[in-house]
């Protein structure tokens, strides 16, 4: 059952990603990205990482998408004018090269390393909020405090981008 769900979520996630790439309208592809994120959350849940699963929904499917949709709505209409220019069909095979390269590398890696499956038994609290907190406040404390600095920089950066009206300092 879990194996089936894993493949089910995985394939849906892949399809969501594919739909996101091939869509012409930026808003539509943003929504497909949400779909893909939700499937990722499902995979996290299956891999005994409930905290990551819920966080994936809260941050990515919730917060990031709101930002994406705002940005897109703010900038353009449904489809950009130059997006309507028919694409050159001859270039399409070229697009397949990077994903194909990734697949070949992955297959080669799996062949070389051997497929590592999940361990049969994991600690009962693995992936729970308690586990995450113990790691955050203990082993990764410095990284955790640095996150706050990163977020602070993000706030200042957001302000800098958003300030169109204000006088530029060098003028």
């Amino acid at each position: 059952m879990e194996g089936f769900l894993f493949w089910f979520c995985g394939i849906l996630m892949f399809l969501g990603g594919l739909m996101m790439v091939v869509q012409r309208s930026a808003v539509v592809s943003a929504v497909w990205l949400v779909f893909s994120f939700l499937c990722t959350a499902g995979i996290f849940a299956l891999l005994s990482a409930p905290f990551l699963a819920v966080m994936q929904v809260l941050v990515y499917a919730g917060a990031i998408m709101v930002l994406f949709l705002y940005v897109i709505m703010m900038l353009h209409g449904p489809v950009l004018e130059d997006e309507l220019i028919p694409s050159n069909k001859a270039l399409w095979p070229l697009i397949a090269i990077p994903p194909a390269a990734v697949v070949i590398l992955l297959v080669g890696w799996v062949k070389g390393e051997g497929l590592r499956t999940m361990p049969d038994s994991i600690a009962a609290d693995f992936g729970t909020a308690e586990h995450v907190a113990q790691l955050l406040l203990g082993r990764y404390l410095l990284a955790f405090e640095l996150i706050s600095i990163v977020l602070l920089v993000a706030i200042i950066g957001a302000l800098a981008i958003g300030q169109r009206e204000r006088k530029l300092p060098w003028k």
Partner: protein
Amino acid sequence: MNILTEMIRGWFGPDKMSDQMVLILSAVTLATLMFVVMALCALVFTWMERKVAGFIQSRYGPMRTGRWHGWAQAVADMLKILGKEDIIPAEANRFFFSFAPILVLLGSLLAWAAIPWSPNFVSADLDLGLFYIFAVSSLAIIGILMAGWASNNKWALYGAARGAAQMVSYEIPLALACIPVVMYTGSLNTSDIVIAQQGGVLNWFLFRNPFIFVAFFMYFIASIAETNRGPFDMPETESELVAGYHTEYTGMRFAFFFLSEYANLFLVSLIASMVFLGGWWSPIPGTDFAPALTFIIKGVLMVLLNMWVRWTLPRVRVDQLMYLCWKVMIPVSLTCVVGAGLWMMWRGQA
């Protein structure tokens, strides 16, 4: 949930079914039950809201349908909505226009899965219950943005943009206000949060700690804004934006928005009751005869309070809305978190 699994097991004979089948069957039953409860609460609360509004404005409200105080008015409205033509504007994006109401509805239904109705009845007893509720209810924001954008209507788009800005802003004080309680419980599991409040009204988190008392009011104000109700009904200000993000919606799709609005109203009230007001515990210790009923009564009282606020206070402006959230509620909620921590260090965990 265990009552249900035992029932299903007894029904089909003890060894006829695998554990997985029992689990799936009970989950299907629970989901159906929650959906029915959602629909019912939309019916009951629309009628109640009209009666409360009538009472506050010195008029009767619905009186005719069903004879006794117009109790059947909401049912009649529902039947009427079933027969309404479904109009999708020619300019709209058909797929997203149709999908948005379903997403909004799904967001509320999913959040209901983690509500602990009584000591042994919670649909999905997730360890991350409270966190999960916040996560899935943020999906509704995407639904609202999608609806507004797909309608290709200026009112709808403005309403959606405002609604999303308001809902994301107030999500922060809402989540922050619950943190002191999580600090006391040491768990995000919704049942654990209620269990920690055993022993009468003084053990409810509301009265345990002055900082949680303040946090409760932060939660209450933020929950009104999260459900887009007055005085924070910016997304659908009738006087300026027609009907906001659902301007173009008719018939059943409109009903979905309507249903999830009332479902969310009851949901935030139930969460308030669960997190701050002792959940299924009765106020007097030792009188917990009907836990589920106690829980629901507390929820309904919170809904009434919500309606009272809606029909009493005038609507705020957008700038006041943002002022209240970012300059008052977020700093106060943050202070509550730090203060509750200091209090726990000073007074122990009592």
